[in-house]
Assembly symmetry: C2
Homo-oligomer: 132 residues x 2
């Protein structure tokens, strides 16, 4: 998918996420954008929906938060499954892709005749900096 021009609200949300050093919840984004005129959660969620659709933002299901894609110039939808390592101390997220894991999972699903549509791979723990 080629990313269309972002609307004003989409740009505001995307900029916040791009500058953030950790994933943000929708309500945190809302708070950060109150000065820019944001008033209601839907303004954030609607922008996020589009950004997710365009593949420039990822949703982290295990922490109900959102993060800008770490590979902005590739297409995260084309290089298969995306995995995240999330530090529970500092919040930092590492995003990575692995075709081996990808194929292995897909083969298993295929053997079960399961048609995969969306995937979530998230590992929580502690990053190098935060490990004592």
């Amino acid at each position: 998918m080629t990313t269309p021009m972002l609307t004003k609200n989409q740009s505001l949300v995307f900029d916040i996420l791009t500058r953030a050093e950790a994933p943000l919840s929708a309500y945190t984004i809302l708070d950060k954008l109150r000065d820019q005129g944001f008033r209601a959660p839907l303004q954030v969620y609607r922008a996020l929906d589009k950004l997710l659709e365009y593949g420039v933002v990822h949703r982290l299901e295990s922490i109900n938060s959102f993060v800008a894609c770490a590979h902005p110039h590739e297409d995260c939808h084309s290089h298969g499954l995306v995995a995240f390592a999330i530090c529970e101390s500092c919040g930092q997220v590492m995003e990575f892709h692995d075709h081996e894991v990808d194929h292995r999972l897909m083969d298993w699903l295929k053997s079960q005749k399961f048609k995969a549509e969306k995937s979530t791979i998230e590992i929580r723990g502690h990053c190098a900096n935060c490990t004592a």
Copy 2:
């Protein structure tokens, strides 16, 4: 971890999950247990916390629901990462374990000096029965 005797509330919650054909949300469980005297969400969440700790129940982060472990006589904490395929039509969940995927992810994390603690692997899509 060896599973201790379950308390009354834990048993009630576990039985509901064991008999369910699809994952249940905490509030759905609450509704199903009102006749048994359940009144508040905490009664469910507290039981779930223990069942998760014992490893006999899994939480599906992507759908805010809970499911009984499909491998009750193994120890899901010992055979590495657990993955789930969740059908978005009928709700059925397939639980599986794959050491290949496991090692591959763990190797990557190790190379990043990331200390993994909890993992979430969930694939949403459509099962064989529900595929047109």
